[in-house]
Symmetry: C2
Subunit: 392 residues, 2 copies
């Protein structure tokens, strides 16, 4: 049977990179000594008040159709917190709940991109950007962050990538996999380009609550950016709620109406009991304290890993400002990232990802997810020390 | 800012029809005597064992990422039940879980249709088909069911609608809003056309467990149809789980792989606790008994309404074989469907839908959803009797 060309556009080329992750998770079922540092799924439980809210919703019969855009109180709370943080004046009418930031990215791309367009994405980038952009018929134009400057913005490269066909700039801040958080100067540069070339900006901020140093800044709050910015966020990372599929987009009211029309035929809203849980996640003091405690754990783990990698002369680690990931340049070992990751798994039973999947500019790097407890992480560091002996 | 043309394709023309529904639900908050017969949301609670399974999943920490296609045990159970019912040999690899049959319809359309294609939909049709098909760039070609024959298949009209551009035939059996269930002869006719013209068939079977008379037949089980049929189903209607967003598509393995690639960038799987609940819904004897009890309630309500409408000479009701809806021809009253629905709401505080939204062929009809308890339904019948006095 014939399939639509779209099915070609969503076939990732980067599946190989996950082989080690799949091998590691499969082996871990038989061998508990395997340490899986290859996925961005928090090891924490969802905060208890959030679970309790979902349970109360389920037991209270909140299992029927709900408003397509999400409930007013939840949308208003998201709008309120966004405005408090970045200053962009928004109401619930600027917010739509969707099934995770992934669904929000997918939906936003469909509403703003069309065949013939070019969409710039700052690289390294999360692996699903490629499919989300290509399925609209638009062309993805990767702009590599500057790997000689710890993967910070390469302003000249960004400016040079803009053509008359450019329609949007997509980025994640903090970035997965680098953990780099764009600063005011960098965002201001992007904003100026977006305004002068009349571009959309899609800012994926799912790690914005997992920040170790400095202040997270949202480009939506910059002058004249409200009308052209789509801010994506979710509870997946901040509240260890990856499986709940609860995220949102914030943007101009017209965009939200289009996204609502799309959700009507794509999704038909999020479960009411999930929305009750989401509201508690964003407002309950215990839930917020739990979220902060997770962040402090990630900070401690990051410090442990950075200290480990800095000991080894032929590894160069980029200390992340945020997120639950870090990149390590392994090229000085004489192995490429895939070889290094395979050897580390074979010899030391540690699963990490070759960062090639996140863009060519990251091909010398492995991505480490610090989503295991302190004890496992200490073990991982010992094994890495041992592994590195062969390269001395 | 410029939006993609897709945003035009998903702007429904049929929103007016829902005005009365929105008015009725708004007034009901202030006036409990309002009777809302305008939505397809069961008034029942989700069966307790299903709730309990979700609660156990939540409390057990089943809140992390899960397999994109859904869990093996759930997919295998769906495959098993489908095979038992219709004879199509399928395994879990022919099944993908998606966020409701709506999401499965949307995703299937994206994977099989492209600009230039024509997709036939049997009309009356549920309102979101238009957007789902048009957003792919394909043209929706409605084929009216025969209203002079209780909205059964018009074979000649279907055959005549096929052109070299036709790529697929979409239908719902049982149908929303007519409650008509396609029989073996009708499905066989459709299958022959699909095979001889090499067409996809998308069979939306969300009301297949809500059948009052006769046997529900799935076209997927017909000879040579497995390779070209996509069967959509969900728990929304059968188990009063509309808000859970739990549905699936069954089809060729290649299609499932494409749908899985799509889900990776669109949705990223269903919550694990929802999947645990779904498994219980499909296998637990109490949950299945509850589902059957719902069906018996719908049957009783249907009988009540049919008896009510048959009393009135200038109303012609099509007794549905299945579903939770029925159509009533109101044209003999001298009012059109919109006027009739408005007057019924203004005078008797009953919300029904003008069926115009489901296709031009249904424009003489109102759709009644029997999703209220026996007492309210008896009241509704009394009020309808009273309302009809003015037309005598």
């Amino acid at each position: 049977m014939r399939y639509a060309p779209l099915t070609q556009a969503i076939q990732g080329e980067t599946v190989d990179a996950w082989d080690i992750h799949f091998k590691a998770t499969a082996l871990k079922e038989k061998d508990s000594s395997v340490i899986v540092l290859s996925i961005g799924d928090p090891d924490f439980d969802t905060p208890t008040p959030v679970i309790d809210a979902a349970v109360a919703g389920l037991k209270g019969g909140d299992t029927h159709y709900v408003e397509i855009e999400g409930r007013d109180n939840l949308r208003a709370e998201i709008a309120n917190q966004h405005q408090q943080k970045c200053g962009q004046p928004v109401t619930k009418d600027n917010v739509i709940l969707l099934a995770g930031a992934q669904n929000a990215l997918f939906s936003s791309a469909l509403c703003i991109l069309q065949p013939g367009d070019e969409a710039i994405v700052l690289q390294p980038m999360y692996v699903t950007y490629e499919a989300c952009i290509q399925l609209t018929g638009a062309k993805l134009v990767p702009v590599a962050m500057d790997k000689h400057n710890n993967f910070r913005l390469d302003k000249d490269a960004l400016a040079a990538a803009i053509t008359p066909k450019t329609r949007a700039i997509f980025f994640a801040t903090p970035n997965n996999p680098s953990g780099v958080m764009l600063n005011k100067d960098e965002l201001s540069y992007i904003a100026d380009l977006a305004i002068s070339h009349d571009l959309w900006v899609v800012s994926d901020e799912v790690y914005s609550r997992t920040v170790f140093e400095g202040e997270h800044v949202s480009i939506a709050g910059f002058d004249k950016m409200a009308e052209r910015t789509i801010t994506l966020n979710s509870l997946s990372k901040s509240h260890a709620m990856t499986g709940w599929r609860a995220g949102w987009a914030i943007g101009p009211e017209t965009l939200i109406k289009h996204l609502s029309n799309l959700s009507l035929c794509m999704l038909y809203g999020l479960p009411g009991f999930v929305q009750q849980a989401a509201y508690v996640a964003l407002t309950d003091s215990q839930a917020l304290m739990d979220s902060e405690a997770m962040r402090e754990s990630y900070r401690r783990r990051r410090d442990t890993l950075v200290a480990c990698f800095e000991k080894h002369e032929n590894l160069a680690c980029i200390p992340p400002e945020a997120s639950m990931f870090l990149l390590v340049d392994v090229s000085q070992t004489g192995l490429n990232a895939q070889q290094f990751a395979e050897a580390l798994f074979e010899q030391e039973r540690i699963g990490v990802l070759p960062a090639t999947a996140f863009g060519q500019c990251a091909s010398d790097y492995i991505r480490i997810s610090y989503v295991v407890d302190d004890e496992q992480l200490a073990q991982a560091c010992e094994r890495i020390d041992n592994f590195m002996l062969q390269f001395v």
